[in-house]
Symmetry: C2
Subunit: 350 residues, 2 copies
C-alpha cells in the first residue's frame, strides 16, 4: 500500500479549523482508495514567532524537503505580527525554496452556490507565477521617516521564470479547451510586461493547437466580471495572478470556495496545497469557517500525488453536499456539519 | 462672459467619435449657462506618430500649458504603434508633466443600466495616484533575447507623492460619506506598500472625521464584486487604481459609462479629462461608440472649472436619457442618437 508523507502546517486562525476538516476527508478517501497518508504536524505560525522570534525554525525548509507534499491552512495574525513579517517568514519562502512556480486556482461555481454575478456559466483555470515578478522582495527605502523619503519595489522577471510558467499554462490549455489568455500591462510597464509578451509570443510557436489572447490586467479584471464564460486558462504574473484569483474567488461565491495548489512541476521539491482564504483570526476556533476551499485544495493534492480517483471522489462529495445547500450560504452550517456532509457523501458514493 | 480655453485631443479610434459628442454637449451647456468654451484641436495621435515619428511635437507640453483644461478622447492604435510607445508618448507624459496626480473615477449605476452584479446599490469614488508608483517608467532589460535575460520594472513612491494623493482622498471622503479605503499589498510588497500604509496612518491623524480601512488589492478586487455597497472613497496607487477602476467600470455596466478626471489639484497646470475606455479602432468612425463616458467626463471638466450648474445639468441629462433606455444596452442606439437624446434632455431641463 502506497504511503504518502505529508507535512501539515495548520498555521494561524481558521487555518487549524479547515486543516482538521480537510484531513478528515483525506483520511477517509485514503481508506476507500487503499493508500496511506502519514501526516506530521508543524506548529509554525505567528504564535511560533511570538515564542521563538521566527515563523519556522532555521532548518524549516530542509525539514519540509523530505515530504511528498505540504498542506498549509492559513498564515497571518496581523494584530500580533505584521503580515509583511509572517508571510515573508513562512508562506512565501516555501513557495520559492521548492520552486513551486505554478500556482493553480480553479474558478467555477459549485452546484447550489450563488455567484454575485448574474452570469454563472464559467469554468476558469488561473495559473499564477509564484516565485518572482512583483513579489521578488527586492527594494528598499531611503531617508526613512523624512519628508524626502523614497521607497522602491522592484519587480524582477527572468526568461527562465517566465518561460516555464508559460509552458506550464500552455500545457494546461491543451488539456482543457485550448484557449490561453496571457495577462500583462505592457502599455504602462514597458520593461517587465513587454518582455513577458515577447516570451509569450515565442513560446506560443511551440503550441500551435492553443489559441492565445493577450489582455491588460485592467481590461482582464473587467472581463472576469462582464464575460467570465469567455475565459479558459488564464496565465499571469505573481501580482496579477494574485488579484485575478481573488476576483475568481469572488465570482465563484467567495473565498470559502477557492482552492489552490502551489506546484513544483519539475518535482525537485514538494508541492504545497492551501485554500486561497486567509486566517480570519476573528472567527478562529468557532466552528464556523467554511472548509470547502480547504477540502478542495486537499483533493488537488491527491490528484497531484497521482491519486486521481480519490481526488475525483472528494470533488464529487463536495458537489453532492453543496447541491443539497450545505455550506453554500455563509453561516447556515458549521464547519463540522459541512465536513460531515462531505464525509457521508464520500461514503455513499460507492 | 467667462471664456475657457480648452485643448482638445481626440486621439485615436473612437476618440474622435466620442469627443465630437462630448463637445456638442459642452457647447450646449455653455450656451445655457452663459459661458464660452473656446476649443483648439490637436491631431496628436498614432497617425501623427506615423507621419512625424512622435505622438506630439517636441513643444507639445509647453503648448498645452496655456490652456484652462485638456480634453482627450482616447489614445492607442496597437496594430500600427505599440501601446508602450503611444501611451508613453502622449497620455502618460501629460499626466506627469502637469502634476495631474489625482485620477478621479466615479462608479455608480446610471438609471436604466444593468450591472453584471446582482447588487446595484453602490456609489464609489476611486482616487488613483497618477504620476509615480508602478508606472514610473523605471526599469530595464539585460541580456536581451538571451536565455539569461532579466527584465526589471521599479515602482517608485515618494513621500510627497503618497502624502498628496492621500490628503486629496481624505478631503473627498470628508465631502462624501466619511469613509476611505486605502488599498495596498503590504503583505507581499514590503517596501513600497508598507511605506504607503505608514503614510496613510500619519495623514489619517489630520482627518479624525474620516474612518479609514486598509485593504489588500486582492481582497479589494473581491470586495468590489461581493460588497460594492460597503465602499465610499477608495484610494490606491497608479497600478492598483488602474485595475480597480476598470473593475468599477465593469460593475457600473461597462467602459461605456466610466468617466475620469486627471486633476492637478494645486493648479500649477491644466487638468485633463478623458473617458476610461480605450480607442477601440475596430469600431472607430462607425457611429456606434457609446459617448456617455466621454460626456460624463466633460461634465467633470466643467465642474472642475467651477461651472457646477452646467456640470449638474449634463449629469441630469445623461440620467434622463438612460432612464429612458437610451444608450444602456450595447448596440441599441447610435452615438448620434445617444448624444441627441442627452442634448434634448439638456434643453428640456429648464
Ligand atoms: C497572503 C499573501 C501573501 C498571498 C499572496 O499574495 O500570495 C495570498 O494573497 C495568496 O493569494 O496566496
Ligand atoms: C492606457 C493606459 C496606459 C491607461 C492607464 O493604465 O493608465 C488606461 O488603462 C487608464 O486607466 O487610463
Amino acid at each position: 500500500m502506497t504511503t504518502y508523507k505529508l507535512a501539515l502546517i495548520p498555521g494561524d486562525g481558521i487555518g487549524g479549523d479547515v486543516t482538521d476538516a480537510a484531513m478528515a476527508v483525506v483520511q477517509a478517501a485514503a481508506r476507500r482508495h487503499d493508500f496511506t497518508v502519514q501526516a506530521t504536524t508543524f506548529d509554525w505560525s505567528c504564535a511560533h514567532y511570538l515564542r521563538t522570534g521566527a515563523m519556522m525554525p532555521e532548518d524549516g525548509i530542509e525539514t519540509l524537503r523530505g515530504f511528498d507534499a505540504i498542506y498549509l491552512g492559513a498564515v497571518g495574525w496581523p494584530h500580533t505580527v505584521p503580515d509583511s513579517v509572517s508571510l515573508h517568514g513562512l508562506l512565501l519562502p516555501i513557495r520559492k525554496a521548492f520552486n513551486q512556480y505554478a500556482n493553480i486556482r480553479p474558478h467555477r461555481l459549485l452546484p447550489g452556490v450563488e455567484s454575485p454575478l448574474r452570469s454563472d456559466g464559467f469554468d476558469i483555470l488561473c495559473i499564477r507565477e509564484n516565485t518572482e515578478g512583483e513579489y521578488s522582495g527586492a527594494g528598499g527605502r531611503v531617508h526613512q521617516g523624512m519628508v524626502n523619503e523614497v521607497a522602491v519595489e522592484t519587480a524582477i522577471f527572468t526568461r527562465a521564470g517566465v518561460e516555464r510558467i508559460l509552458r506550464f499554462a500552455f500545457e494546461q490549455a491543451q488539456a482543457r479547451r485550448g484557449h490561453l489568455t496571457s495577462v500583462t500591462k505592457s502599455n504602462a510597464q514597458k520593461y517587465s510586461m513587454v518582455f513577458w509578451d515577447e516570451v509569450t509570443r515565442e513560446v506560443a510557436a511551440d503550441y500551435p493547437d492553443v489559441t492565445v489572447s493577450h489582455m491588460h490586467i485592467d481590461a482582464m479584471a473587467a472581463r472576469m466580471v462582464m464575460a467570465p464564460e469567455s475565459l479558459d486558462v488564464v496565465v499571469a504574473s505573481n501580482l496579477f495572478g494574485d488579484i485575478l484569483t481573488d476576483l475568481g474567488a469572488a465570482i465563484q461565491g467567495g473565498l470559502g470556495f477557492a482552492a489552490s495548489a502551489n506546484i513544483c512541476p519539475d518535482g525537485t521539491g514538494p508541492s504545497m496545497f492551501e485554500p486561497v482564504h486567509g486566517s480570519a483570526p476573528d472567527i478562529a476556533g468557532q466552528n464556523i469557517a467554511n472548509p470547502i476551499a480547504a477540502i478542495w485544495s486537499a483533493a488537488m493534492m491527491l490528484q497531484h500525488l497521482g491519486e486521481d480517483r480519490a481526488a475525483d471522489t472528494i470533488i464529487a462529495a463536495i458537489e453532492a453536499a453543496t447541491a443539497q445547500g450545505i455550506g453554500t450560504v455563509p453561516g447556515s452550517h458549521s464547519t463540522d456539519a459541512i465536513t460531515a456532509a462531505i464525509l457521508s457523501a464520500l461514503e455513499a458514493d460507492a
